[in-house]
Symmetry: C2
């Protein structure tokens, strides 16, 4: 019985961890955002290991990542006896809280107004400014032309235009829904579909096993989301699966349930 | 006395015709739009010659231009005895009527909404598409990015965005208020300022003399206007004299008065 349960769990991990090259510190950010996002929530070092070991994250990689996140003032720790306990700092909590609506919303409430910004031609290194604009929440439509939510702050000296798109031709959709993003959602949806079926026969899972599975799913979802701003479907084109993935992510998370930090 | 009057008139012509390389057919379009824009208005060939000769337009150039405008269905003519009479066709009247509000408005009533359009990259020859967009009422902000009134129709397959500019940096103003346009308005304003003073001592002028002076002024004004769409001051920058020129053009036209077509 324990064997069956372990097999199911490891098959599920295998199914969901198709996406390699995940950064360990980024996975820890996901775990704390998902499971310890309330002030005062703490996760012990032992629990963190139990959650991350099934993802093949090595203890040494874990220590390096926790060190980095402490240096970045994202996470702090304290000792109780021989155990270490970790939690989000005030800064980490703020960042997590800011990201949460976009990650966990069941429906995206899209504004009717958007921002189209043109960078000053020759105003700086192109690649660097394009990355900078992406970090500010924009997506490139043309070299030097970016689309984003009204709240995003464009680089200085940009032409900033607020309004709504009247016509979105196919070349714009292809520019926004790049092959990489389209494939990321395609891969995620396939994994979710298989996992959703597999969940029907799920054995009883420990809180740590649930935490592992949730963290993997939320992490892939979060990485896909962060690669583009929320935009109306019309900007992405008909083949866009971002909305379908949102429904499926929320469904499996609901079915897995969310362990309390205190249970871990 | 007649001598003094002639001197004043010819000095004024000299003052106002600083702008060479005007196309004769285009001047005729201005004359008919200004003086014969009501259905049924006719101007005789003799009157046209009296109006255009002081601008140093030769009879042969006049004949060629009238021929072209008849071929373009802009103007038609009929004979009464040995005299030819010219008037706008239905098409010419429509074009004139459409252009009139922009040319003669005392205040430009600017909408709050504009159109920012991005052409498909690699969608066709750049120079030709840019000219095409200008003819459609747009001004280039960047290669492939155009600003225009909401009513203008962008080329097919463009990203079309309706809204309002929130920030207009200096490089956009310099792109819209090009040195050529800025100089055109600067030259016009200087000529109008001198002519305005000179008008204080104007002798009695014949309807044909008034027609000549009006036509020259309206023509320079019309050419300057047609080189850019009407946009809020903020798009042009602080040194922009388009608004000042509008006030000064309307002032001297008011003071000159408008002869009836029947008087010519």
């Amino acid at each position: 019985m324990a064997n069956n349960s372990d097999t199911w769990f490891h098959d599920s991990i295998k199914l969901l961890t198709y996406n390699r090259n995940q950064r360990v510190w980024s996975i820890i950010v996901t775990i704390f955002g998902d499971l310890a996002g309330t002030p005062g929530d703490r996760i012990s070092g032992a629990a963190l290991s139990r959650i991350t070991e099934p993802m093949s994250i090595k203890p040494e990689a874990m220590r390096v990542a926790l060190h980095r996140l402490r240096n970045d003032d994202w996470i702090d720790s304290h000792k109780e006896g021989r155990s270490s306990f970790y939690g989000l700092t005030r800064f980490g909590l703020e960042q997590s809280t800011a990201a949460r609506p976009r990650i966990y919303a069941r429906e995206v409430d899209l504004p009717s107004q958007w921002q189209l910004c043109a960078l000053e031609p020759g105003g700086g290194p192109k690649g660097q400014r394009a990355r900078d604009m992406r970090h500010r929440g924009f997506v490139a439509v043309l070299p030097g032309l970016f689309l984003g939510p009204v709240g995003a702050a464009a680089l200085p000296d940009s032409l900033v235009f607020h309004g709504a798109a009247q016509e979105i031709p196919a070349w714009v959709q292809e520019k926004i829904a790049t092959p990489e993003i389209t494939q990321a959602y395609g891969d995620l949806e396939r994994a979710l579909d298989r996992f959703s079926v597999s969940l029907l026969d799920a054995p009883a899972l420990s809180p740590h096993q649930v935490a592992t599975l949730r963290s993997i799913i939320v992490h892939i979802w979060r990485r896909a989301l962060l690669s583009h701003p929320d935009l109306p479907q019309a900007f992405f084109g008909e083949g866009w699966r971002g909305g379908a993935c949102r429904i499926k992510v929320m469904d499996v998370l609901d079915r897995l349930g969310r362990p309390q930090a205190a249970q871990l």
